[in-house]
Symmetry: C2
Subunit: 356 residues, 2 copies
DNA sequence: AACTTATGTGCAATCGATTGCACAAAGAGG
DNA sequence: CCTCTTTGTGCAATCGATTGCACATAAGTT
C-alpha cells in the first residue's frame, strides 16, 4: 500500500538521468556543475515524487549528521530554556538539529549520555554542564570531537567557551550594595567545582577588597548545588550568627530564592532588614515579592554564539578554540535598598512591606 | 594519527570471527543464539578496541533511529521544561534520544521543522504545539508516522494524546471562586484554536451554569496567545467596564501574570479587590506577590506518559492510538480570597497587603 | 550406525547517498 | 582539420551494520 519513500534512484529514473546526477543536482554546492535544464528537470521530478533526503544514508557516507547535542544539568533550572532556545534557533537556521540531554547532575548518567550521543553520530557537543575539571571535556579533546562549553567553563584550556564575565558581574553586585551603604555583606556562594561558583566568589572577594570593606564584615557560605533548597540551607547558616549581614550577594537566582525562604524563616524582611542580589536574571523575577535585584546575563545571545561557534568547529576542524566573554549588567529591583531607607521603613513597620 | 573508529569488522578480526557474529553478539536480542564464550570473547574485544556502534549505519539498514522529536511552541514558556524533562528522561532510559525543536508559533517554521526531522529519520514525534486543526498531524497520520500529542490535542481522532482534564480543571477554579463567595466572575480565555483554550472555556461556562451563576454576572475576554503580554491586554478590557468582576479565572498562568499587570495598571489589588486563578502551576508561582492560586497539572508525568506511548507506537506500529487523561488539582495560594475577607482587608488598608 | 534435528557461525546482499574517476561531447586554438 | 581543454554526466565503490539463507558440526533418535 504505502509505497516506500522515493530515493535518488527513483528520481533518476523519472528524470532519465543517473542517481549520482540527481545527488549533485540536489546539493546546492555541486548543482552549478550541471546544466541548468537538467537541474530544473531533476528538481521537478524530486518535488513531484515528494522526495525527502535520507539523512542516515548521507551521514553514513559523509560522516556528518548535521546534528548537535546540548547537554545540561537540568532543563527545569529557568536559566537554561532561553539559552537552549538561542542554540536551537541558530542551529535550525543552518539546517542543524538539536539533541537535548539532561545529566541530572549525575556523573554516570553524564557518561552514558555521552556514549549514546557519540554512537548516534552527533557532530558536536554544547556542554552547559561542564565542571571545572570535567572528564567528558577531556575525552572530547582526546577524540577531537567539536565542543563548546557554555555558561560554565573548564580550568584546562583547549576548548571554545561562551561565558560571562562573572568576575565583573559579582563586582557589580558588591558595588551596588556598597553604594547603598551596606558594609556587612555576605556572599552566598555556589559550588566551587563549577567555574561560575568559583569566579563569582573570586569576583566578590576582589571587589570587596578593592572597595575597602573590612574582612571582618564579610562572610561567605557555600551552597553545594544551584538550587533553591541548597540556597535555603546555606542562607540559614548566615542568619544564625550574631554578626548578621545587612546584604547578601548570591551566586545565582535560585540561591537567592532560597535566601528569601531563609529570611522568612527567621522573620527578617527584604529589603528592610536585608538586601539580596541574585545572579542570572532568570524569567519572572520582576513578579517576586520583592522583585529581585540581580545580575543579568545574555541568555539567548550565549546560546546563539555557542551554536555559531560549534558549527564553525564542525565545518572547519582546524579551527582553533577561542572564548567569547559576554558582559553582564546589574538590574536593580526591589530586593535591595539603602541602609538609610531600610531603617526608615523599619521605623514605620505598619506600612505595606512591598510596593509595586 | 587518530585511527578511525573501530567497526564490527575490526572486532571480528581481533576475535577471529565474522562481522555478522559480532553484530549478533553485541545485540542483546540475538546474543543468546551464540555460544556464551564467543559472546564473551567478542565483548572483550569490543571493549578493548573502544567500540562504539555506528548509529547511522544501523539506521540505514533497519530504518529505525531510536530518536524522537519533541516539537513545542516555545521552550521559554515555563510550562514546557518539566514536560520535556519527563520526556527526555523516559526516552533516555530506553536508549532513545530526544531532538528538540521550537516552532515559535510560526506555521512556516513548523512545516520546515517537520521536513527536517523527517529527513533526519526521526522515529516519531511528540507534539506539544498542536492546534485543534493541525496540518502536521494530518500528514503524520497520512504517512503513518508514530505520533503523540501532548498537553493540547486535536479535534480529529486517530492520534494518541496525553492531556489533562481541562474541563474539570476549569471547573475546579470556578468552584473555588464560587465557594469564596464570588459571583461576578470573569474568564480570561486562551486561544480558541488550541484545545486547551477551548476546553477550559467550555469548562468554565459549564461549571458556572451548573453552579447557578447568572449569565449577566459572567464575562469572557480572549487572549490571542498564551503570553503575559496578551494576558495583560485582554485583562485591561476586563477592568474597563463598570460591571467589574471580583474574580478572574485565567486559562493559563502566563495570562494570570498579565492579569496582575493589568490590575496594577488600574490600581486594583489582588486579592483584596480581585481574586485571580491561573492554570498549569508553572514553577515559582509560590514566590509571586501574591502567590498565585492555580490549577496544577502533572507536567513531568505527562512527559513520561507521552514518551512511553510514543515508544510503544514506534516498536509496535499496529498499536491503536489512545488517550491518557490526567486529573488536575487546585492549588490554593494567596491570589484568591473570600469576598467577605476581601472587604475586611479593604477596610483596614494599612495592613501589609500580602502575608507569607 | 545411519538419520534427523538443533545449534552456532559464515556469506553476501542490502539500506541510500556521495564522490573520485573515467569518458563522451562540445568548444577553443593553432 | 586536428588536437587540447572544458564541461557535463555516468559508473562503481564506499560508508558500517544487519539479516535471510546456507551450511557445518554436534546432539538426539531409532
Amino acid at each position: 500500500m504505502a509505497r516506500s519513500r522515493p530515493t535518488l534512484k527513483d528520481i533518476a529514473e523519472r528524470a532519465g538521468v543517473h542517481a549520482s546526477t540527481v545527488s549533485r543536482a540536489l546539493n546546492p554546492a555541486t548543482a552549478h556543475r550541471l546544466s541548468a535544464d537538467v537541474v530544473a528537470q531533476i528538481r521537478d521530478a524530486a518535488a513531484a515524487l515528494g522526495y525527502r533526503p535520507h539523512g542516515a544514508a548521507a551521514s553514513l557516507r559523509t560522516g556528518l549528521s548535521r546534528s548537535v547535542a546540548v547537554v545540561l544539568p537540568d532543563l527545569t533550572n529557568p536559566v537554561f530554556p532561553p539559552i537552549v532556545r538561542g542554540i536551537e534557533e541558530t542551529l535550525a537556521a543552518s539546517g542543524f538539529i538539536a539533541i537535548l540531554a539532561n545529566t541530572g547532575n549525575d556523573p554516570d548518567r553524564y557518561a552514558a549520555i555521552f556514549e549514546r550521543l557519540m554512537s548516534r553520530g552527533t557532530d558536536g557537543l554544547i556542554l552547559a554542564s561542564a565542571r571545572r575539571d570535567d572528564p567528558i571535556v577531556d575525552r572530547c579533546i582526546a577524540e577531537s570531537i567539536p565542543l563548546v562549553v557554555i555558561n560554565r567553563t573548564v580550568d584546562r584550556g583547549g576548548v571554545s567557551a561562551v561565558i560571562n564575565d562573572d568576575d565583573r558581574g559579582a563586582a557589580l553586585a558588591v558595588q551596588h550594595l556598597c553604594d547603598l551603604g551596606h558594609r556587612r555583606i555576605a556572599h552566598l556562594a555556589g559550588p566551587q567545582s563549577l567555574s561560575t561558583g568559583h569566579a563569582r566568589s573570586r569576583g566578590f572577594n576582589r571587589a570587596a577588597r578593592s572597595l575597602g570593606l573590612a574582612a571582618a564584615d564579610l562572610s561567605t557560605v557555600f551552597a553545594d548545588t544551584y538550587t533553591r533548597d541548597a540556597g535555603h540551607r546555606a542562607a540559614k547558616r548566615l542568619f544564625r550568627d550574631a554578626s548578621q549581614p545587612t546584604a547578601v550577594a548570591c551566586a545565582n537566582d535560585l540561591l537567592a530564592l532560597g535566601c528569601y525562604d531563609a529570611l522568612r524563616d527567621v522573620g527578617l524582611r527584604c529589603p528592610e532588614d536585608v538586601s539580596v542580589v541574585g545572579y542570572n536574571d532568570m524569567p519572572f523575577l520582576d513578579l517576586l515579592a520583592p522583585p529581585l535585584t540581580t545580575v543579568r546575563i545574555q541568555h539567548e545571545e550565549m546560546g546563539r554564539q555557542a551554536a555559531r561557534i560549534l558549527m564553525q568547529h564542525v565545518e572547519k576542524p582546524a579551527q582553533q578554540p577561542f572564548d567569547v566573554v559576554l558582559r553582564p549588567e546589574l538590574v536593580t529591583r526591589g530586593s535591595t535598598a539603602s541602609l538609610r531607607r531600610s531603617s526608615q521603613v523599619e521605623a514605620r513597620s505598619t506600612e505595606p512591606a512591598f510596593e509595586a
